[in-house]
Symmetry: C2
Amino acid sequence: MLIPKVAIVGPSGAVGKTLVQLLYERSFPFSEIRLCGSERSIGGEISVGDKSIKVEKATPELFKQVDIVFIAAGSEVSRSLTPIAVNSGAIVIDKSSEFRMNKDVPLVIPEVNGIDLNCHKGIISSPNCSTTPLAMTLKALSCISPITRVVVDTYQSVSGSGLPAMEELRTQTNDVLSNGNVTPKVYPHQIAFNALPHIDDFHESGYTTEELKMVYETRKILHQPELSISATCVRIPVMVGHSEAVHIEFKRSVEVEHVRAVLSKSPGISVVDDPKTRSYPLPIQVEGKDDIYVGRIRRDKSNARGLAMWLVSDNLRKGASLNALQIAEELLKKGMILNKKGENNYA
Amino acid sequence: MLIPKVAIVGPSGAVGKTLVQLLYERSFPFSEIRLCGSERSIGGEISVGDKSIKVEKATPELFKQVDIVFIAAGSEVSRSLTPIAVNSGAIVIDKSSEFRMNKDVPLVIPEVNGIDLNCHKGIISSPNCSTTPLAMTLKALSCISPITRVVVDTYQSVSGSGLPAMEELRTQTNDVLSNGNVTPKVYPHQIAFNALPHIDDFHESGYTTEELKMVYETRKILHQPELSISATCVRIPVMVGHSEAVHIEFKRSVEVEHVRAVLSKSPGISVVDDPKTRSYPLPIQVEGKDDIYVGRIRRDKSNARGLAMWLVSDNLRKGASLNALQIAEELLKKGMILNKKGENNYA
């Protein structure tokens, strides 16, 4: 098996940090790791366990020396660096939304549509953190019956907006508790002890970009361009872990017990669903966990062929870094990462 | 007009406190006010503005001396005191869920079904705090088109569980921020920086009592026993103000602009819906406000005859005490509070 050289762009961010950690935690095979940061962080070091890794500038030369480039920064960074990395012969696995809807770019959750990796042309996108758990659940359930409609409302944590947002929640919470003044910076309004029905920009339709990502990305991942989906995305004062209240309509009537059994057997999905013992997925319990968690599974009272449920996942892991890393693992397994650098780094 | 004598049961609780305050704030006409508390609070005093009112024991004698009894305590208190109050000739306006689904008890939001007051037999129930804003919105929209289905997911504040829950959120939040231990008391799990998809007891169907209240109470209030509704009720770390993501299906296609206009003209409803200026209802902004607030109104992307929107209201006001008081105001206006005590307290 090829032992690739990897670079991570954005290793100081919430997602990048988790990604560096996961590379070691999952013993991802690499022969070299390079970390590329913003101007501000170049020259600094990132600690992983007992190691310390220098942060470098992202250059065409650096990209030429690696096989895989993970981009865990915003869309702008991705827009400027991805073409350089691809031209340098590396495969880019991008966590940003920049290329997700590009028809030449596969948008992949390995458990759902790993097959789409076969069509990649150098760039592979990893989905939005609220799309991933939904798409995984829908895919797992589609073997029971075709799905005709999905309504989802989210309860998203601040870590989805990065480390400064987590700091803002901490600071504001302290300020509110001590009757101090609150000055929102990351969010347009106070997030402490509040609920903001506003994530990302608004469109003419009244939907936000985050809500439309859930619609369009889910359709692309599931290869169901006509799937009816509606979403309301809401930020709540939780540090890590996105929750989703989901209402799914099927073509045929489905049995709750069957649904539980099927979800339990699905890779990457855990069912936590025992109301008697007050067991259901909670954001504070899934933090640091790899799976997505499903509970509160019940017949939808408003539709004979409907189901309601509650999903929670660590948005920094399966919602972001873990999925990106699993894409790389899948590429390796498929033998799709070729040693384009002409170096002998086969094991 | 009759100037009634009123009693409030539960004046030290979150809802009761607001109710006492509102009686003065709205200049509700009363000739006497009596406050009845639990064993623990009897003999103490409640301050309202510059007044101080003694807390007494609820007795048949006390109830005989008043015309209206507001019960702002739990179902158990209501179960034991309501028959006594009614037998004493007083009209009971009950905030608990105890009698809401009783066919002889009108369940009333004055703006929606004030007419149901005509059938009361001594007890009138006020709906659940998450039902009221939903039912008001659905009623206001029903003049545009019949409504065929409703899916709602809630973001409920801790004040819905009373003052101890507000204290628990405060304490736990401090504990988490200072890396201390968290010991849940009011809730089954930590509420600070978390989201609990569990409000009230679980039923065999997988739904909670809170979710079923939203279903059955809405149907009763709207006189639509067959209305299809599904709800997921979630507690989030917000002090006051319940939010709801609502997806409504109509029999006919509706226009967003028309919906905004109709809601704006509806009594008790304010529209805050201008994404360009980041204006949408927020719990921290509706605290202490009487209206229910609607925003994020848009076509539902998953249904051609559907609408999505975001509701927020002060659960202690319109969701509880204000509605109870408005029921009393409506009874007075209709001349339905008779001086059963034989005393001359007409103005």
